[in-house]
Symmetry: C2
Subunit: 199 residues, 2 copies
């Protein structure tokens, strides 16, 4: 015996999401049937809308409804700094900090020979074009993740940009605020000692 077709299809759809296997998908599907009808309609509409109404900003690569995105159009932001991130969602995380007021650039990935991702697969050409066509930029802050691929990408970008006489910086590595030294890994501790600051 099979699930009724509408449930089977919904389970299939839930299983396409990352980290959701058959059991969770089944639970979610049965939960959906019990949900408020309006909520389900809104869910379906927001899925369609997210796919249809969102685009990549033609300047920075951010995900946006309007092109250019709100940040690129905001002339009150510091036009002399560009912060480079791997993913569009990293922008939102950084914006929550409320301490950075410059511009952004989304690479949309990192260099990864294993996955066959080279410089031409990332938004690097558009970054270089931005730097060449705009004298206002004085500093590029590289905020790729602290993974081997993120580090390699940061190194590659830095070598590409530095010759143009633009300052290239990298986010600091060290202990998380509120963390215990006891639980820090060796690499983090090494970076924390290396980057120690005078009190």
């Amino acid at each position: 015996m099979q699930y009724p077709e509408p449930i089977a299809q919904l389970i299939d759809s839930y299983m396409k999401l990352p980290g959701i296997g058959q059991k969770t998908a089944t639970r979610l599907a049965f939960y959906t049937i019990d949900m408020n009808g309006d909520d389900v309609t809104r869910f379906a509409k927001s899925l369609i809308s997210a796919k249809r109404d969102l685009h990549f900003c033609s300047i920075c690569g951010n995900i946006t409804e309007n092109d250019p995105c709100d940040i690129c159009r905001d002339k009150t932001r510091d036009q002399s700094q560009i912060l480079v991130v791997e993913q569009a969602k990293d922008i939102m995380t950084l914006e929550k900090m409320k301490e950075y007021h410059g511009l952004y650039h989304v690479l949309n990935g990192v260099l990864s020979p294993i996955e066959g991702k080279g410089p031409e697969d990332l938004n690097m050409a558009s970054l270089l074009k931005r730097l060449q066509s705009n004298d206002a930029v004085k500093e590029v802050i590289i905020a790729t993740n602290a993974t081997p691929e993120g580090e390699a990408t940061a190194m590659y970008l830095s070598r590409l940009i530095k010759p143009a006489g633009i300052k290239v910086t990298r986010l600091a590595h060290g202990l998380s605020v509120g963390s215990d030294i006891e639980y820090a890994d060796e690499m983090t501790l090494y970076k924390a000692v290396e980057g120690r600051t005078e009190m």
Copy 2:
């Protein structure tokens, strides 16, 4: 700064699902944007369809596209047994076993004074009506979960049905197949000893 409206709405919708908080919802929303357009459309359609095309079987309370459901309409099934479950999805789990060929009845919950759920909130009246109007039923197998509420509901149902002269049985409790005695809880061990069988 806020997420673009379509993302914010999608995050809200994902957060309405059980066990999905803000971080997971955000991850799923950004994942959705990168998904194949056809998959997203199919996902949205299956949500609408699951809510619109599925109903409760008027006989047993199972979730179905057709009323009565496939099981209730199947005259080759053993009409003398009714197995009582808490949720419609339990039927599918039992059907996978392929060893039970009787009918089902879905209570749609359990007695729970804390949640204010009494007998009138469950599909108990419809079960009694089935038993009264149908002489073919010889046995009611109660398969509520092995929780305090499930046990109480089983006990309540049994007292309700027995006076009609119908045999009432309960699924056996004991060690899971393949499990270690070392990791079994005391209550399960007690039930396993109590229900021991001769070899």
